[in-house]
Every structure is written in C-alpha cells, then in structure tokens.
C-alpha cells in the first residue's frame, strides 16, 4: 500500500506532462475476441461438413450465442477494467469455444448422451460470473481481508463430497437436482486467495532460515508448521477423496507460492521431499493410485493380458493417429477411449483431429494465458496482488501439465479437467473466475503506470 501511495505522489507531480499515458488496447481485445468466435464457429462448421457434408443446423445460433457472451464480457472489461491485459479474455473465449466444438463433435458419436448443451449453459454461467467479478470487484486487494473466510469455505467445499457416494472411484462430486458439481474446483481459487494473503502477510517471518544442513537452509519450526498443515490437507484429500490430481495441484500451488514469497530453495526441497513421501506411501497403500502408476509404466499391459487396450492405451493410439497435421475435425476415432472421452481425455480428440500442430497451438495458448498472469504479477508492486496473479496462473499451468502429461503418457494419469476444454461445469465456471481475477489484477498492474491514479 505504501509503495502504491508513493507512486501516486510521483504520478500526480508529473501529471501535467501526460506523456506516460498508456494505450488501453480494448480495440485489440475486441478484434481478437471476434477472431476467437470466428475460429470456434469455423471449427463447428468443419465438424458438420466432415460428418454430414453440410453445415450443422445450429451454426448461426451457436456463433451468435458465443459472440453475445464474449461481447458482454468484453463490455464489462471495457467499462470496469479498461487497462486490463487484452489477451486474457480472447484466449479464454477461444479455449472455451474450441472446448464446445470438441464436445459437440464427440456428442455425434454418443447420440444418447449429449454434453454440449449443458456445457454451453455452464459456459454462460461462467461468463456471467466473469462479468460479475470484473464489474463488482473494484479492487482485488479487498479479497485480502477475507482470506480466512476463503480458507474456511475451501475446506468446507473439499469435505462436502465425502458425504456423497463415490463416482468411478473418486469422491469429488456432489449431485444436486441432476447437476454434478465438483466443489474442489471452486476451492482452488479460494485457496489461491488464502495462500496469497497468508504468504503476503507472513513472508518476512517465513524467510527466516533455520540451520544449514548440507549447504541447504532448512526452515524453522514455525515455517514448517503451515507447510505440514497444507501437506496433510493434500494427503487428506487424496486419501479421503481418492483424487490424486487435486491433491497434487494444491500442494504444487502452495510450494510455488511459498518459494515466490520467500525465495528459499530449501522450502522447495522440503516440499518435494514431502510430496515424494506422500506419493510413495499412498501409491503403495491405495490401490486406485497404484493402478494408475502401473498403467503409466506399462500402458499396453492390458493388451498383452488379452483384455484389450485400456483408456491410456486408447488415448495414446488417438494421439499417434493424429500425427503431424491430424485427421481433421470430426474424422478421428478418439471415441474409442470410451468413458471420460469428453472430460479427462478431451485432449486426445484435439490431438487426433488437429494433430501435433493443433496440440502445440493449444499448449501455446495455455502458455500465453499463464505468461500474461505472470506478467501481471511482475508488474504489480504489492505482494498480495503479485502472489495472487502468480498463484492463479500457476493453477492453470499445473492443471494443464498434470492432465495433458497424464493423457500423453508423460506422468501417471490423474483425473483432472483441462481448463476450458474439458466437459465439466464446475471447472469451466472456476476457470472464468480465474480469468476474471487475472483481468482485475492486470488492470491494476497496468493502470499504476498510467498517468491516472486509483482513487
């Protein structure tokens, strides 16, 4: 706060010059949004042309719907966060649009189980939440005040599914009135807010080093406390809900933020050690997790045993079938993956039908999104905003890595939604919330360099 105050004084002193006024670049954002909507509509039409030889009936409606949603979001940004990074929203729109195209494409293979309409509703809800957050949250620093409310809510959301029956081996869903909600998704954002607030407040105390062992500074006991708490929380999630992905994500997020806040590599070492211990112990004891590791090491074991290819093998087949340029939208056979083809394995459809070229483009879109988040964090001067931006961007990065690495056989597979692309309402709403917060943070980050000053 004091730093910002100083900046204000300086800017006020230079006000008559007005030479530092920065372009707001809302026009660029609008153009990119139009491009993103057009690309999605093009993909939608390409699926129809490839499958039936004619344009799909709802192409205009679909494009118009997506366009109106995107324009609403754009208006919110234009009016309430005019300095925001112009890339964040278009990337979100494009990824969400492509996700809808891929889910619609897979719906064609499963006529009795259509997911695209529901996903469209959730996307609309997500954009609505985005608009509300961008419009209502005047300053992200307000969130700092509610950090303990956030963590309490996050814990409540995480423990809620334990009361509900397990679905496919994982207790991460609650079912209300026909809708499946994954509360853990929402908890991600709340925890990121809490971590950022906690570390921003305590980072100086946490930076105190303990004894040196083997040239490494070990943390002191009062630092170790919170780390161990979060670690236990992660393991608890893993054991009680059998959700390796979420557990990994929480722990990874905390370690990254702890490192960024304190700059202590020792913390990372301790974090990795704990993670390894937890992973090995759980991997040994928990059959669900153990099977995932076995599948990763031997993806073709089930084929050799005469039981046919498992999901990971089918996923690898799909990626390989894509090759460099892909089969073209609507022409692949990723539906062979079967269960979860539209959610956890959605990337396999992208890989098969868009090829390595399309897959790389998707990865680069995610990378760009993460990079814009980090850039916002770097530009800000107050620690809470920085940690929040880095935390939210890291959530996206880790999530993409964990699930994309899982379905391509890089790391053991853990069920997790690929941001924006995968079927899953909670996930898409959460991701729009993340983008909304990044927009707010980037607005503050860029505005502080402008001649204008926050009130």
């Amino acid at each position: 706060m004091t730093k910002v105050g100083t900046g204000t004084a300086v800017a006020a002193a230079d006000a008559p010059a007005r030479a530092v006024r920065r372009p707001r670049r809302r026009g660029i954002e609008l153009a990119l949004i139009v491009l993103a909507v057009l690309l999605s509509v093009y993909g939608y039409c390409a699926v129809g042309l490839a499958r039936t030889g004619s344009l799909p009936p709802g192409a205009v409606g679909y494009g118009a719907g997506l366009g109106v949603l995107a324009l609403l979001a754009h208006l919110a940004v234009r009016l309430r966060a005019p300095y925001a990074d112009p890339l964040l929203l278009p990337i979100g729109v494009l990824l969400n649009g492509l996700g809808l195209v891929l889910i619609y494409r897979l719906d064609l293979e499963t006529p009795h189980d259509r997911a695209a309409p529901t996903q469209l509703v959730w996307s609309a809800l997500g954009v609505a939440l985005f608009t509300v957050v961008v419009a209502a949250l005047r300053d992200h620093r307000v969130l700092q005040r509610y950090s303990y409310v956030c963590v309490a809510a996050a814990l409540a959301l995480l423990t809620l599914p334990i009361l509900f029956p397990a679905v496919n081996g994982a207790r991460i869903w609650i079912r209300i009135a026909g809708f499946s909600i994954q509360p853990g998704e929402f908890a991600k954002v709340l925890l990121a807010v809490f971590f950022a607030a906690y570390l921003a407040a305590n980072r100086n105390a946490l930076a105190y080093a303990g004894r040196r062992v083997w040239g490494m500074q070990l943390p002191t006991g009062r630092v170790l406390g919170p780390i161990l708490t979060v670690w236990l929380l992660s393991v608890g999630v893993l054991v009680l809900e059998r959700d390796l992905g979420t557990s990994l994500l929480f722990f990874g997020l905390f370690v990254v933020l702890l490192y960024v806040a304190t700059g202590r590599t020792g913390w990372i070492a301790v974090g990795l050690l704990l993670a390894a211990l937890g992973a090995v112990a759980v991997g040994r004891l928990e059959p669900h997790v153990h099977a995932r590791v076995e599948d990763w090491l031997h993806p073709f074991a089930s084929i050799e045993a005469g039981q046919g290819p498992n999901q990971l093998a089918q996923s690898l087949f799909a990626f390989a079938a894509g090759g460099m340029l892909g089969t073209g939208l609507g022409l692949g056979h990723s539906v062979l993956i079967g269960f979860a083809a539209k959610s956890d394995f959605i990337l396999a459809t992208a890989g098969e039908e868009l090829g390595l070229a399309g897959l790389s483009a998707l990865f680069l879109l995610y990378a760009l999104l993460v990079e814009r988040g980090y850039r916002a964090g770097l530009s800000l001067r107050e620690p809470f905003g920085r940690l929040l931006a880095v935390g939210l961007a890291s959530i996206l990065a880790l999530q993409v890595f964990v699930i994309a690495g899982g379905v391509t056989g890089l790391i053991p597979l853990t069920g997790m939604a690929l941001p924006f692309l995968a079927q899953g309402g909670s996930s898409v709403v959460t991701n729009w919330a993340i983008v909304a917060l990044l927009i707010r943070v980037s607005h503050c980050a860029r505005r502080q360099y402008d001649g204008q000053v926050a009130p």
Binding site: I303, F319, A321, G323, G351, A367, Y374, F401, G409
Partner: protein
C-alpha cells in the same frame, strides 16, 4: 520477489517444453509403434469406412456394399452369392478375405497406391482412394449354365478360352452364400461354424482347390506323349496291345469295360477309351517322357495363380512300370484339378499351346480408368501342332460316335473325352464322372471354349455314374452358352 517469480515462470516453461516434446514423441517420432499395435482399431475402421469396390462379371457387379451405420460401417453384399462364390470368395469383417476378394483386396479396399496418382496430396488429406473395381473374364451365361447343370450335385466346372487363357466359368457345388460371412455379428460366427462343419464342404472351391483322379480324360495327355515321342505314328495302325493287359512286373490284369480293344488302333482305343492300350502306350513312352509331357500340360506346377493359387495337379515322378501304366490312364497318384483338365482340352484346341489361365481382365478406378490390365500370358508348347491336330480329330470322333455323344452341339465342331475315375480304398468309392471338351462355332476359325466337368455324386448308383452320362450334358450347356454369346 521479482526474481523468484521469474524462476517460477522458467519452471512453467520447462513444464510446457516437456509437454511439447512428449507430444512430438507420441504423435510423430514413435507414432508407428502405436499405429501398428494390433489392439488399435483405427486401421480396421478405416478399411470398412468406405464402400468396397466391386467385382464385375460381363460389365455388371456381382458384389455390393451395405451401409450398416455401425463402427465397421460398410459390409459386403453379393448378388447371386452361391453362383460366384468360387470366384469372389468372401470378404468378412471377422474372417478376412479369400479368392478374388483376397488377391485384389488392395484395389477393392482402395489402398493400392496406383488408385490415387497424387500420393503426396493423399498423405496430406489422408483420404483413402475410393475402392476400384475388378473386371473378371467370366461369361455370365456360361457360369450360370455350369451352376444349373451341376444342380447342387457335388462337382465342379472350369471353362477357359483356349486362345487366351481367359477363364469363362468357374463353378463349384455345393456352394454357399458369402454374404453370410460379411458382417461381424453372432450370426456370422454361427454361419462360419455351420459352413465349416458341413460334411459337403460348401466352402471348398472344387474347381481349383480340389484334385481328383482324372481317369480316362488323362488319356489325352498320354496320346499326345505317344504321338510326340513317335511311339505311335499312324493313329489307324494296330497298336499290338493285349487284352487283358498284365501290368509289367506284377500279375495284375488290367481289363476294359467293352470289347474290341485288343490291338485296337489309337483312334478306336481313344474313341472307346481302352485302358489296356493306353496303359501299355504309357509304358512304351517311358516314365521320363510321360513326366515331361504331363509337366508341359501344367501338371506338377505349384505356382499357378489365376490370380489366386490353384492347387498343384500331380503326376508322380518316381514310378515303376506298373505304376506308370496306371498313371497313364489317370489312376494311381495322378490327380488333377478341373481347371487343369480344362487346360488340357484347351491345349488340344489351340494347336498344342497351353496358356496360363486368368480371371482378372483388368482393374479400374472408381471413375472407370484402367489401373492395370491382364497382359500377355506365358505360353507353353505342350505338344507339337501336328499332334494337337490329330488329337482334335480323335476328340471329335468321341463326340460324334464314341462315349461323348451327349456333348454334341448341332452346327458346331465339338471334341471331348469322357472319364470315369475309380477312387477310394480298393476303388470302393463312388466313381467320379469326368468330361473334358472344346467347341468351335460354325463361323469361328478356332475353338472358342474348353471345358472340364467333374461330378462326384454320392447319391447316384455306382453303375449310372459316367462321364458321358452325367458330365457331358453340363459341358454341352456351358459350351452352348459360350458359343451363343
């Protein structure tokens, strides 16, 4: 803090790089490992993802494709399945392909690189060329005449055009409907089990995959060898043959069905099918010359393809004189496919030349342009042209006044040879009725069809089975169909 944010960003970049490198590994570098995994269904789905090309008889397809809307989308259908089954074979989603469906699979399935001239563009768009068509040499009327002539009796018919080697008819009975095996459901499995368990072996292609003792029809080969070797110089001179004939080195006495075979000249012996005369002729020609003559006609050739493989017809190469005597009248280890015996008749009809028979006239792209055409086929001189001319005379006599009068066609020159082959332990089996023949129409310069018919009818009484009675009428129907079309 800025520095640590940058380090964290570097960490994220490393994660991205790992994803990209791994994606390149899976999708490009090692993609073949995954593509070629037998558990990967994609090649199968692609194979049945488009209609299969058709097999054409006289310009009209005898096959088709049915859109099932299932994962393996297109299924093979057959018009007149049982009639053409010995030619088409089946194309099953479960049990693979046989016969023409098998040998011409690349064209029919659209994978033949010749089907799409722009290979590079095809690799880019990944479009499979539409399946090409296979144009056969079959004569629709002849095929149907042969099939109806057999009327479900066990047996086979092969007809070829002597001057070219084009196969005009290829029938095996009893037959089966290959469309029963096209799909992948439980009914296909049941049909497969039933057809394989059937004691009549309907899926056996008797025309090319079954050998029979050729019996007296083999006397054409023996006569050709005797004439070529100079053992007989005048077909009307007595042959100094005893009746009965005691096989050399044994006390087995060979007899004839009829009388008048003692010292009979070649013409009469051929006309009345004297076993004694031909057995002794074979011995006089000698094993070496007999083996060479049989080989020249196509016996002992393991590599005959039309384009699917034809089972080797055999003439034993290690014979003592008694065995040689029996082999020379088409018994002992002498065995021939019906197609092989049609080639023997064709050699007589075409001045002693044997042409490799073939079924595929040409293959064409979906648009109709030719992919490949049957070129010149190898020709082998089986006997001197003069010998062939004399044999034509002898065979014509058989039809005019001998054992083969049932094959006569008014207005046409027809030559033939009957055969009734003993088989089984102690010749206890029902004999096979054979007839091989050729026919020349009134306005034709040379014979236009050569046929071989074999009927193995277990239901008939032993005495009634005969080449002239059972097989000759079928041969006549086929020859008529060819001459009339």
């Amino acid at each position: 803090m800025t520095r640590y944010i940058r380090y964290a960003a570097v960490f994220c970049t490393l994660l991205l790089a790992a994803l990209l490198v791994n994606a390149a590994r899976v999708q490009v570098v090692q993609s073949r490992v995954y593509d070629d995994n037998p558990a990967n269904r994609r090649p199968v789905i692609a194979r049945y993802g488009q209609p299969r090309g058709d097999i054409l008889v006289a310009g009209r397809p005898v096959t088709g494709s049915k859109d099932t809307r299932e994962q393996l989308r297109y299924e093979r259908t057959y018009a007149d399945g049982p009639l053409y089954a010995p030619v088409t074979g089946f194309a099953s989603q479960v049990y693979g392909t046989t016969l023409l469906e098998h040998t011409e699979d690349a064209v029919l399935a659209g994978t033949d690189p010749l089907l799409s001239p722009l290979a590079l563009l095809k690799d880019l768009t990944r479009q499979r060329a539409p399946g090409g068509d296979v144009v056969t040499t079959l004569n629709r009327a002849a095929q149907r005449a042969a099939y109806e002539g057999l009327a479900g009796r066990k047996g086979a018919v092969a007809a070829i055009e002597p001057a070219t080697g084009r196969i005009l008819a290829l029938v095996s009975a009893p037959s089966y409907d290959p469309s029963l095996l096209s799909g992948n459901g439980a009914d296909v499995e049941r049909a497969w089990a039933r057809l394989n368990a059937d004691p009549d072996k309907p899926m056996l292609n008797r025309a090319v995959r079954q050998t029979y003792p050729p019996g007296s029809t083999f006397k054409v080969v023996t006569a050709a060898a005797a004439l070529d070797a100079g053992v007989v110089t005048d077909v009307d001179a007595p042959t100094d043959s005893p009746d009965p004939y005691t096989l050399p080195g044994t006390r087995t006495r060979l007899t004839n069905e009829g009388d008048g075979c003692e010292d009979a000249p070649l013409r009469d012996a051929f006309e009345w099918s004297c076993n004694t005369v031909f057995a002794r002729l074979g011995v006089r020609v000698g094993a070496e010359a007999m083996v060479a003559a049989a080989r020249n006609f196509g016996f002992n050739d393991p590599g005959l393809r039309v384009p699917f493989a034809v089972t080797r017809s055999t003439f034993d190469t290690t014979l003592d004189k008694a065995q040689l005597a029996l082999s020379s009248i088409g018994q002992y280890n002498t065995r021939a496919t019906p197609l092989q015996m049609a080639m023997v008749a064709a050699a007589v009809a075409d001045g002693g030349q044997v042409r490799a028979p073939y079924l595929v006239e040409r293959t064409v792209r979906a648009g109709g342009t030719t992919v490949s055409a049957a070129g010149l086929r190898p020709v082998r001189q089986a006997m001197r042209p003069g010998t062939a001319l004399r044999l034509r005379e002898l065979m014509s006599d058989v039809v005019r006044e001998g054992t083969g009068t049932n094959a006569a066609i008014p207005g046409a020159i027809v030559g033939g040879k009957t055969g009734t082959a003993q088989h089984g332990l102690g010749n206890s089996g029902t004999p096979y009725a054979w007839f091989i023949s050729w026919a020349q129409g009134p306005r034709q310069a040379q014979p236009s069809v050569a046929v071989a018919v074999v009927v193995e009818d277990a239901a008939a009484d032993r005495g009634e089975i005969s080449g002239g009675g059972d097989a000759a009428p079928i041969a006549r129907a086929v020859m008529r169909a060819v001459l009339g079309s």
